[in-house]
Each structure stands twice: as C-alpha cells, then as structure tokens.
Symmetry: C2
Subunit: 562 residues, 2 copies
Amino acid sequence: MADADRKLSNGKSRIDFQTDPSKYRHWKLQVDGEVATLLMDVDEKGTLFEGYELKLNSYDLGVDIELADAIERLRFEHPQVKVILLRSGKPRVFCAGANIRMLAGATHAHKVNFCKFTNETRNGIEDASESSGLATICVINGTAAGGGYELALAADHIMLIDDGSSAVSLPELPLLAVLPGTGGLTRVTDKRKVRRDRADVFCTTEEGVKGKRAVEWRLVDEAVPGSKLEETVAKRAQEFAARSRRPSSAKGIALTPLEREHSADGVDYGSLSVELDRGARLATVTLRGPQEGPPASAEAMVEQGARFWPLALARELDDAMLDIRANEFEIAAVVFKSSGDPTQVLAYDEFLDANKDHWLAREIRGLWKRTLKRVDLTSRSLVALIEPGSCFAGTLAELVFATDRSYMLIGKLPGDNKPPATLALAGANFGAYPMSNRLSRLASRFLADPAELDRAQREIGKMLDAEAAQQLGLVTAALDDIDWDDEIRVFLEERASFSPDGLTGLEANLRFAGPETMESKIFARLTAWQNWIFQRPNAVGEEGALKRYGSGQKPAFDPRRV
Amino acid sequence: MADADRKLSNGKSRIDFQTDPSKYRHWKLQVDGEVATLLMDVDEKGTLFEGYELKLNSYDLGVDIELADAIERLRFEHPQVKVILLRSGKPRVFCAGANIRMLAGATHAHKVNFCKFTNETRNGIEDASESSGLATICVINGTAAGGGYELALAADHIMLIDDGSSAVSLPELPLLAVLPGTGGLTRVTDKRKVRRDRADVFCTTEEGVKGKRAVEWRLVDEAVPGSKLEETVAKRAQEFAARSRRPSSAKGIALTPLEREHSADGVDYGSLSVELDRGARLATVTLRGPQEGPPASAEAMVEQGARFWPLALARELDDAMLDIRANEFEIAAVVFKSSGDPTQVLAYDEFLDANKDHWLAREIRGLWKRTLKRVDLTSRSLVALIEPGSCFAGTLAELVFATDRSYMLIGKLPGDNKPPATLALAGANFGAYPMSNRLSRLASRFLADPAELDRAQREIGKMLDAEAAQQLGLVTAALDDIDWDDEIRVFLEERASFSPDGLTGLEANLRFAGPETMESKIFARLTAWQNWIFQRPNAVGEEGALKRYGSGQKPAFDPRRV
C-alpha cells in the first residue's frame, strides 16, 4: 500500500512515522548540558524498502523519520539544549545524500512524498532555531554531497574541515540529471546568497568546492584545519548557546508513544480518529475537544506532559496526515470534522496565550504551526464540515481556514438534539500560526481587504452561528439541512472525479496567495520544477541518468530544451 | 524545425514573430484619439499549424504574436493612446482560450513555449499600464473561458455584460485536467485577490460565474446591463484616460519591418547577428555597437525612429531570442558577444538618461526591460564572452549580468591588435531594468552584501579591465589567452552534455534569487506545476483529458495523488 511497486522491509505494510531513540538505527543522540550531538551513522542494512543499501551515510525516508523525531525530542524533552552539533559518525564522509538506488526504483508518488517530508524536516531544523532558539551547527569532516550538503544548509552555521579533500557539493545535475531538490538550490541562492554564476559553477561541478574557496563563495561559514576542529567546534557551540533564549534549567517532558490503533479502515488515536472510505476515496479526520478544562498552571501543564490535550492532538494530527500522505495514495479528499465543547477549546487557547512565554507553551504552539503547514502542503483536497456538536474554535478553527472549502450547517439536523454548530475565533487565529508565506491563514484569506480581517478580529471569543460565519467570510457556504447532505455528497463526488494531478497543481497555487518566502519557494519554484524533472525521460526513462547511474553506461539524453 | 511532430501552415519552416497590422488575421486595431479598440476576431482558418480550426475566438501562438505586436505598436506608434478597449468582434463570445486541439497535438516543448510567450504578452499588457500609463479595459460581452478570462485578467478593469448568460470561467481543470496556466491562477489569487475557497469553487465550475456574483467574488470589476454597456464603456475609458500620463500631442514613430536575413546557419540583422553551430548546439549572438554618436536632441531621436540604435537593437535581440526559443530546440547554449566602441554605448545610455522623461526614451528603456526579462526566461544556458573589441557597457553590460556565466579575457589574444576587453557600468545597470523580482540584475547578484553593489556603483563610467571586473564580482572568471580557448570550449561541451531538462530546472532556480512577485510566481509556482501536469498521463496520455476532449469518451484517470 505504501508503494505498490516496491516492498517495505521486514514485511511491513505501512510506512510508520513514529519512532523513538531506543529504535534509532541511523542516528545517535547525545545530550550534554546545553549541547546535543546528533550523529549520523546510517546502518546500510536498515532500509525502509527492500532492494538497496544505504552506503556512505546516504538516506531514505526511514533515516529522515528518525532525524525529524530527534529534532522534536530535543525541542520537547530537552528544553535546556541550546545547540545541536550535526555530525557524521563515519570517517571521511559526512553524508552522500538521498540514496540513488532508492530514488531510481521509487514510484513518482513516493519520490515526491519523500522530498516533501525531507524538506519539512529541514525547515523544522531552521524553525527550531528561529522560533525556539535551538541552533544547529553542522560539522563537515569529509564529503557532504547532494542531500548531504542540503542537510548542512539547514544549519545556522556550517563548518568544513580544511584538509585538502573534504568538500561540499551538489552533483545532482551532472550525475543524475535531477535538481538538488531538498531545498538545495533555494538555500544556495536565498539563504547563503551565493552569487548566481558561482552557484552555477558549484551546481555543475561534481567534485564540489573545498576549503577557502567554499568560504569565499559563501557555501560554508568557515573552513577549519583538522588540528583545530574540536576546539573551534566547542567555541562555536558556546557562542551560539550564549545567544539562545532557551531556559537553562527547565525540565523536559517525555514524548511518550502515541496511543494509536490501526484497523482496516482507519486509525484511532486518543483525541482523533481517521476513517477511511476507500471506495469513495475519502478520509474523514475527526478531532475531539478536551475532556476537561486547562490545567491550573504552567507547572501543571508540564506535569500533564504529552497528555496535555493541545500537545496530544497536534502529535496525533501530524501522524494522521503523514500516514494518509505516505500510505493512502488513492484518497482524494480529507474531510475534517470535530466534536466537543468549543468553549473548552477556547479555554485552552487562552491558557496557551496566558503562558506564551513558557517554553512548553511555545513549543506546543510551534508544533501546531508546523503541523498546520503540513496540512497546507498535503496534496489532497481539504474540506471542513462544521456540524452540530463540533468544536472548531481557536486553534481548531485554523484547520477550517487551512481547507480548500468549508461548509457549515444552519440550525439542527432532523432527529438530532445537538445545538446548532458554532465557529469561534481566538487571538491565535491572527498570528500564532503563520503559513509559509508568513501571513496568518486569515490574513491570506482576506488579502483583498484588511478591513475584513479587522472585522473578524472583533469577533474573537464569540460563538458564531453559520450565517454569522458566512457573513464574515469565514466559511465557503452555510447550508440548511435540506441541502446539506446532497451538496456535500455532490461536491465530494465531483472532487473524486477530477484529475488527481490537476488538483495537486490547482491546490498548490490557490492555497498560497500573496508573498513568497524562502520556505514557500522551496515548495513552489524548486519542488514543482523537480517534480517536472522527475517525470522526464532524461532523468527517469530507461536511458535516463537516474536509471543508468552506476551501471557503467552513460545516459542518453533527448537534446531538446523545452 | 519549429515543431517536428507537426506542420506549420502554408509550407512555412519557422515560426515568425514579426508581423504588422496589414498582415493581421485575428485582430483589428482601431485608434480614435486617446482610445484604441483592439478587437479580437479570430480567423478560424488562420492557424499557425495545420490540423485544427480556431473556433469561438480560441487562439494559438499565431494569434498571440499579433496581439503582442499590437500592444508594442500602441506603445511606439500611438503615444497619444491612453486606453485600450479589449473587445471581441464575435457575438456572444469574448474568447474561448487556447485552442484545445492545438494543445492536444502540440509537442511538450511547443506547449511550454506557447505558454511562456502568452504569459509574456499578458505581462506586457500590465507593463504598458504600469510603466507607460497605457491602461487596458476589457469588455466581456459573452463568455470568457479559460485563456479568454486569463486575457481579461491582464486588464486594469474588467467589465462583464450582465445579461443572464455571459460569464467568466476557468474550466481547465474540470474539462482538460490542466491548470489555467497563462497567469490565471496567480492573477486570481494575487491580483484579483479572490478568497481561496471561492477561487476553488470558481476553478472547478465549468460554467463559470456571471453577473453580480462575479463582481462580489472580485472576478470582474463591474457587471453592466446591455442597455448601458456602451455608455459605461465610454465613461470608463474617459476616466482611465484622465489618469494617464501619456502625452496627448506626441507623434509616434513607425516600427518599420526589421532588416533581417536568414541563412541556413543564422540570421543577420542591422545591429545583431546570430550564428548557429547546430553540431555543437550553440547559438552565438553578436550585438554591434552604434555606428555613430547619439542624436543631438529628443526630437532628432524621434526623427531617427526605428533606426535609433538602442531601439533597433532591442527589437532585433527580442526577435532573435524568440526565434531561437521557438525554432531551435536543440540549441543548448546562447553565447553573447559584442563588437563596437563601449564609450559610444555609454553615450547612448547617457542620452537616454538625459531624456528619461521623454515618452520615446521611456518606451525604449521599457522595451529593453522586457527583452532582458525574455532573456532571463529563456531556457538555454546563457553565456557572455567579453573579448577585445567588445562593447559590453551600460545597457549591453546588462546582458552579461543576465547570463549564467560570463568570461572575460585578460589582455590581448595572440596575433590580434585590438586593445584588451573592457566592461563598463552605467546608471542604467542600477534600476532601469528590473528583473521579475523587481530587483536590478546587479542587486540580485549582490544579494549577500549591498556594499558590493555600492562598490560597483562607484565605478560607473569607468572602463574596467578583466581583473578589475573580476575583482568587483562582475564576471565569473577573468582568463588569460593561454586558458581562454580551452576553458570556454570545455565549458560549452560540458553544458551540451548535461540533461537539457535538468538545466532548465537548475537555471529557473538559480536565476531568480530573492523576492518573488506576482510576475515571477506565474513563471515559477504556476508554470512549473503546469509543465509537470503537461507531462502527466492524466492530462496528455492516450486516455488523458486533453487527448479525449471532444471525443465523446471520458478520460480515465490514475486515481493516485502524488
């Protein structure tokens, strides 16, 4: 199911995004006071799929799932850590990038999803620095090629050993006829701000650039002789730690394993369930509101730890979306529903607002931010149904604004006692969860007229009925019970009838109005071109570079430029 | 040559971008004082290729070449025109968009080039308004579907007849499984700022939106009853004319036919020549500096008209680039050379600066701006060779900064008497020719450090030798005569050996560092996704929507989302 054309290792039937350090096969996480060392030491045999080996610290999605997990754990379990040292556990090689045989044998859908997740992970590394003060220093003592250098590019500071041979490189184009698509090109131009002709030389030079030239060209921040490496690394770690606002004495919380039960047609979590109707190509994700009010204090929140409702739900939602993306390719639409007491949801938002300077509250808001961005980037049609008994308020209302369309029922459903549906806004809807364009979803929605945004802001905390929500422009349509079932059914059937590719392109455009940022450029300019190349015979055909790599045969290219 | 899989009409062997109103088959241009009417009345039989008919004002590249020509002529030949009324000459239909049979039968390369040119034309309509005060009012008295509505979106003001049936629509996704890729999605979200869920409804509704709802959703600016249409159009034209800064009494210049001679291996223009080495997959474009100094006055410039060197050269360069793009798909790299006196080139830049408020000087700078943007978007590797006898100064130096790499020779070549090459900057290099990111090419180049930009600016007017140019970061490499031939040869051979698709993606990323704008988003986010879709079987396969459209058979889609 995960990838029809290929078998997952060890007889697994789904790609699982949950792991923990006790299960890591590829990374070693060592925490020493303010400094954590994240050591990449890929187990060649520990592949996600059958049919290739992860030589030279090359990676597949399984390796990246561990990396993403490690970053999250540093954020939640080790709040006192201020600097991550990203290093290799192998001699003379930092990382050789995405495994080429894995890529060559992967379906198009898996390639695209693999790149999306690895991009999100690298964005997460940057977000940890920007939003939490958890900086990353990358120490390259060997070769960092392709995705290996792209991983380094996510760091705040790149150190390269100056030993006459260690180099950074992006050899994708000359070797494989594809792009450095895990943010590489965009970070070279927009983060490192490498001059474009130098970037051109760099990206077409297989062997890469080393030493002083790598510094001069802005590809790394410093080149350090081997004899001074450890001393300099320690010094840099100290400097970055000194600038961090992370709490030196806070005690982390344990990200305990998710409560999760898979069945043939869905998944049940503690506060969320996924129901799959594969015939209709629908996944219904129902989010459940809190069972009780927020804790009395930040300390009580820490005490609750991973059970604290906003944190539990964010982790579950994140896992659910990743599961659908990676394992359920034929699902056309994700329908979001909710159940619970919206006033309780608002109470949690107020609690997080009141404690916004507490490290854990900040991390939880940050996790929601990243999870909502993951929703934005999910290439399935997204729909919210706001029905009696739902609790789309504050943070949960943000999901409504993340969807392509939202429908809200006017009044009650026949034979149903629940009071009419409400939608409620909180301060969190106006800035806590920026999209990749750095605007809130409501600001993006009301790009045409800031007055509409102001008008919505004045309704914070009110329980808005369907007509009020429609009036404010917060939902696509308010429907009465006579139209409800038919309208929704017809819409979902229509959605399933359209070209899945056309919808992917349409949604990737309509969801991201307004400004672009480096982050959004990675998913637009870079990823869209890479996906195009991933379709081209020059890369993926039988005579293409990706297929012929390592075969001893040169690729045969169609010489026409388009 | 133009399109291997398809025959050009009338036995032609190349697509020709030159035309004039006496040859138009699809447009009628009427000028009446301050107001011009551009009437679309497509000749069904007047197709560029054989094998389809242009029904219902649908268009192919040939129709758009005439449109682009008409807009240029209004800028140069009719400076007193302040408003263009864009209308249909057919009853009940404004324009049905790009012709579907043409698209279905086109090669991938032609589709991509067709979309690129039509996008540039629509950007040109917007630029005429922004840069020259030549506004466009689109009057839709019928249906404007797909590319028809996208054309309307380029206007400053869209009027829709409110007759109960006339509608605007973007039915590409439901009908054809492709995107509204001629700027449609981006202008809906970023120019019209349509709310995203409404945009989603609009783009998935075949029949489109009409009347008051089209206004409410911001899809058009006004819906006008038929009885009041002409009166309202006249009123709007007056209003827009009153806001224009175009000169009421200026006399235009004639854009006379280009002097142009095609041979088997190139083209010769008055001030430019193209030499094709198809074996090496190279086009060498040599720009020739002026034969004499600038005229004594703006009036004398007007007198010279189309012979005025900067104007003649811009038109020739534009035509040459379009010719290579559309007719020479196997050319891997375009090498820019120049010959002439750089001080003369600078003298012309000073002349244009001194007359920058004169309408013709403004139009000429505007044409250079658009032509240079066309170069930026040309998906071939771009190289500048700065050799003894060249005149890369001011406006011509801008081409050096538009290339992927530039090489400059140190000193003389053996056996050559010409003095060493120089490169010279002018004020024009610091703002007259913004890229689509709204930065100058030098500002984009020195994104990392504005001090480098300042340093370059202090060198305005100086004749910089190779070492100075390299020192200032203006060229990729300065090479002496011992290395020159070999380095260039190896580089060009290497370029020709890489995957043409990989290079297209690489260059599309490295050339556009920094901010994105609506214009750049059209060529990045929108176009790149569209090109991906243009590769997908769901659109272009034998069972795909584009192939099956009009056959009575429904398309069969692979249901997997990627």
